[in-house]
């Protein structure tokens, strides 16, 4: 596959992953470190459908079903993890979800039917840039409509002040669980899109480090910002690759430079690129006007 297309594909998958984690960590304020685990659940569940039980219908329809399977499986996993763990706060929730991510990976590693440690091969090539970016757009629309309704506001209020939210008649546990399940489901949705483009899955695709990188994308863009999650995913996918082409020395030191750039950004702008703001037409117009005047 063409190098640039491959990068664009990864960026799209990470956008969906980051949007899902942004709902949990940014919008709802719950600290999850198990996102790669939900991604794995979705990827393997979707791929298992395509390999073992595809319906005799066109490929694109099968891809959609596979995505549905991935979303549902990960959302259910989200519920199973969320219902006991969301009673925990902050660091404890992070540790519990981290553990979950590792358990999933090790379980898959030992499941022969899913290829085990040899990886799962022969996944049909149904996904491509079109489908991935179609789902990016749909996910963005979903998120915008979610946060601008009473349920989204309820989820945001938990981040702002859980006790006050409870006292305003918001069932905080219910909405934490909903946010967690939908966020996990979105990671699950990214799974089949990724699997059917890559045509190969391996447990090592889903190690803990990926949970951290997705979290970095969300924090870099601005916790709670939808545009931030998109831009964060784009930057963190592109940056290490861009550095490859900036001369031999830079290429050798690229991971160091990458880390230093991240540290610098967090020192200079701890709230992330967008903070909690969104990139809207209105905001762009205002920015351009202010620049024009100044």
């Amino acid at each position: 596959m063409d190098y640039l297309a491959h990068l664009a594909l990864n960026a799209g998958v990470f956008m969906i992953l980051a949007l899902g984690l942004n709902l949990i960590n940014g919008v709802c304020g719950q600290f999850s470190l198990g996102h790669a685990g939900f991604w794995a659940v979705g990827a393997y569940a979707g791929a298992a459908y395509s390999l073992f039980a595809p319906l005799p219908i066109p490929d694109w329809a099968n891809l959609l079903i596979s995505c549905g399977v991935g979303f549902t499986a990960a959302a259910i996993a989200g519920l199973i993890i969320g219902i006991p763990c969301l009673r925990l706060r902050g660091d404890y929730l992070a540790i519990a979800t981290l553990g979950f991510g590792e358990i999933i990976r090790i379980m898959i590693n030992n499941m022969e039917v899913l290829g085990g440690s040899r990886g799962l091969t022969g996944i049909p090539a149904w996904s491509n840039l079109f489908w991935i970016y179609l789902f990016v757009v749909l996910t963005v629309l979903f998120m915008i409509n979610l946060v601008r309704g009473t349920h989204g506001r309820a989820i945001i209020s938990i981040r702002e002040d859980e006790i006050a939210a409870d006292s305003m008649g918001i069932n905080t546990f219910k909405y934490k669980t909903i946010a967690f399940a939908i966020g996990a489901g979105l990671a699950g949705l990214a799974g089949p899109l990724f699997a059917h483009a890559q045509q190969f899955l391996h447990p090592n695709n889903f190690t803990f480090i990926w949970s951290v990188i997705i979290l970095l994308m969300v924090i870099l863009g601005g916790l709670g910002s939808i545009s931030g999650a998109i831009v964060g995913a784009l930057i963190l996918t592109a940056l290490p690759e861009v550095l490859r082409f900036m001369g031999e020395t830079v290429a050798q030191w690229r991971m160091v430079i990458y880390s230093v750039m991240l540290i610098a950004l967090m020192l200079l702008r701890p709230e992330g690129i967008f903070g909690k703001r969104e990139l809207t037409l209105h905001w762009l117009q205002k920015l351009l006007r202010d620049r024009g005047v100044g």
């Binding site: 209020s157 006292s167 305003m168 909903i178």
Partner: protein, 267 residues
């Protein structure tokens, strides 16, 4: 003035809570008629806020009953208690700081909103209709509290006094039958406190709801409340109209300590 209303809207009977060996609230009885304006006073650490926390479901009482309109609310989640009709403010203001003033009030309408999550995602007709109603109601309440011009500011950008007002507005937006105000005058200067007294009386007249007020500022309580309960060390030590309370020796003792002569009398 009728001291006990015929059928209380909120009734606390022998309410007790223990934290380990400490009995923070000990067999407290309080009843509130449907249009009463009642104060709870007492020194710091007397257990006033603890009573509020039990009524709103944040703490579970060790013993005793809490009844709203003759049905028990003990063991219910805070959110359900709010839905049943009890709203509160907090001693240390708890607004949703990063949300706009309007959104703070809109959030309070959540439990009175019926459209589903899917309706929100697909922007159905029902969603638009109900959101319009929510917004109208929120703006209406903000107008009553003279905050409508600031509805697009973030809550944390408001000056202190207005944050207090917004918190009360937000509580009222849940359509409560009983309003619990936890030290609303804390941190206010005497002028602001006087305005607040007017506001509390006005809310009482305008919304026709029962109000229970915890306060340190004696003047505020004496000016606004019809009846006053005095709590000290978790025990109810007096109950009556403001005049009776002012002249009650037990209350003076709780607030000012015992005089030498009265200690001699005891021993």
């Amino acid at each position: 003035m009728s001291l006990a209303s015929t059928s209380p809207i909120l009734k606390l009977s022998d309410l007790t809570i223990r934290f380990g060996g400490l009995t923070a609230v000990d067999r407290v009885n309080i009843s509130l008629g449907s249009n009463d304006l009642v104060g709870i006073i007492g020194p710091n650490g007397a257990g006033k806020t603890t009573i509020f926390n039990m009524v709103t479901g944040l703490y579970q009482p060790s013993e005793g009953a809490i009844e709203l309109e003759n049905s028990s609310i003990v063991g219910m989640r805070p959110a359900h208690i709010t839905q049943a009709g009890i709203a509160r403010t907090f001693q240390n203001i708890r607004l949703f700081n990063e949300l706009t003033v309007l959104d703070n009030v809109r959030l309070a309408r959540h439990s009175r909103t019926s459209y589903s999550l899917l309706a929100s995602i697909f922007r159905t007709k029902g969603f638009h209709q109900e959101e319009a109603v929510i917004k109208d109601r929120a703006v209406e309440i903000l107008k009553l509290f003279k905050l409508e011009k600031k509805s697009h500011l973030l809550a944390r950008q408001l000056p202190y006094g207005e944050q207090r007002r917004l918190e009360i507005a937000r509580a009222l937006a849940t359509d409560p039958k009983v309003l619990l105000l936890d030290e609303p005058a804390a941190g206010m200067n005497p002028n602001e406190t006087m305005d607040l007294a007017e506001l509390i009386k006005w809310i009482h007249d305008e919304f026709k709801i029962a109000t229970l007020l915890i306060e340190h500022d004696m003047k505020l309580v004496m000016n606004t409340c019809q009846r006053i309960y005095v709590v000290d060390h978790g025990v109810l030590i007096a109950h009556g109209c403001p005049n009776e309370i002012q002249n009650n020796p037990k209350v003076v003792e709780a607030y000012l300590g015992t005089s030498e002569s009265s200690e001699k009398e005891r021993s």
